[in-house]
């Protein structure tokens, strides 16, 4: 993910160590300066996200990364980035929670990532990779989307992906010099009117106009940027809805189920916001059940139920506390709904 960020044109990384994402920070410390960028291990998570605010305002592609408790600390900064329309990539390698929790893989930060977390009426594109090659792809995409829609974009991984090794083919690097100029950035006002980057508008009318404009961009994102994967859904009578690491496990379950004669498929949201409501709704009309599987107590489940709107059964299976669901346990749940 760190190399993908550098190749994605990131030239300013600010972070603070936390397991299970220390490898990202370590890689950045070794390689960012070689790419001609800035690496700073900040004094805290709060400092790191605010350094991102500064770098983003100066027009540089910037990133920070952390794990669950650290992301909670960064939320104030994320809200300010959203309020000031600043592009920034935030990687969350989710661990067990709440509180300090533990350092094992979990998906308990889905609500925090997709429903706000920070204060104010903002949205954040949230990308959920399931493999290391996809993490590379989505980190690079995150920089594109952040610049395109001017706001923070989160890559929501988990402790399993954070500690995993897989072969990847690295894409060609993006040269930051070739990116479109950011006319709004603070680059020195010589020969032009000064730009102002702020989230502070004391006049309600003025703030409302800024907010309405931003909401317009969010609607565009919902129309254009929904990404998901369907796997063996064509003939399926039961569907698993899962993202990230759990979606990988679901593929094993599908193989096991199909050898038992159960027509099982998978719908895997890649963008967790904007959520793929329409494809799920379409599936709901022709399957017996959509089983949501997560490493939490049922968070994405609420979006699944919103999409399905009681067109079919929507059971849930989850593991808590950093435990990872086993294919056998998921298959047992599937069999309760397969006719």
């Amino acid at each position: 993910m760190a190399e993908a960020a550098i190749r994605g044109g990131c030239r300013a990384y600010f972070g603070y160590p936390i397991t299970p994402q220390n490898e990202l920070l370590e890689y950045m410390s070794a390689h960012m300066s070689k790419a001609g960028g800035v690496f700073i291990q900040a004094e805290s998570e709060v400092a790191a996200i605010n350094m991102c605010y500064g770098a983003a305002a100066a027009g540089v592609r910037t990133m920070t990364s952390s794990s669950s408790p650290g992301i909670s600390l960064k939320l104030e900064g994320i809200s300010y980035l959203a309020g000031a329309d600043l592009p920034c990539v935030v990687v969350n390698v989710v661990r067990g929670g709440p509180g300090l929790g533990n350092i094992a893989p979990a998906q308990g930060d889905y609500f925090q990532a997709t429903k706000g977390g920070g204060h104010g009426d903002y949205r954040m594109i949230v990308l959920g990779p399931a493999t290391i090659p996809e993490s590379v792809e989505l980190v690079m995409l995150a920089f594109e989307l952040a610049d395109k829609y001017r706001g923070p974009v989160m890559v929501l991984a988990d402790g399993m992906l954070g500690q995993m090794m897989e072969p990847v083919v690295l894409p060609d690097p993006v040269d930051p010099a070739t990116l479109p100029a950011k006319t709004w950035a603070l680059t020195g006002a010589r020969g032009r009117e000064p730009n102002i980057v702020t989230s502070f508008y004391l006049d309600p009318g003025e703030l409302s106009a800024v907010d309405v404009k931003r909401q317009g961009r969010y609607r565009q994102i919902e129309e254009r940027e929904v990404r998901y994967e369907e796997y063996q859904t064509a003939d399926a009578t039961v569907i698993i809805a899962a993202y990230g690491s759990v979606a990988r496990i679901a593929r094993t379950v599908i193989k096991m189920a199909r050898s038992d004669g159960i027509k099982l498929g998978l719908l895997r949201p890649i963008t967790l916001w904007p959520f793929p409501y329409a494809p799920l709704r379409a599936l709901a009309d022709r399957v017996d059940a959509i089983l949501t599987v997560e490493m939490n107590a049922g968070q994405m489940l609420e979006d699944v139920r919103l999409a399905v709107a009681e067109r079919t059964e929507t059971p849930f299976y989850g593991e808590l506390g950093g435990l990872v669901p086993s294919p056998r346990d998921i298959l047992r749940e599937v069999k309760r709904y397969a006719r």
């Binding site: 397991t19 299970p20 220390n22 350092i103 500690q163 995993m164 090794m165």
Partner: protein
């Protein structure tokens, strides 16, 4: 004298447990301690059963395991 022994670099180990699954002799287990990254690392729970087959080292994604084998002694030694 067991035929083999393994040395685990506890700071490289993230406790994924793949080696535990692969060990045919059930030699390995989790330590009660944690490393500097707070991972519950793996150690030898039944060293007397180790054959030095090195499956654990081959499966370790973090190259945290070194395996040593006893030299074969000549007959009668």
């Amino acid at each position: 004298m067991p035929k083999g022994t393994v040395i685990i670099d506890k700071e490289r180990c993230k406790g994924c447990g793949l080696c535990l699954l692969f060990c045919p002799q059930d030699v390995l287990g989790y330590s009660t301690e944690h490393n500097l990254s707070s991972y519950n690392f793996v150690c030898m729970k039944a060293p007397e059963r180790c054959t030095g087959c090195a499956l654990c080292a081959q499966t370790c994604p973090d190259i945290a395991i070194e395996v040593y084998r006893q030299k074969k002694t000549q007959e009668g030694d």
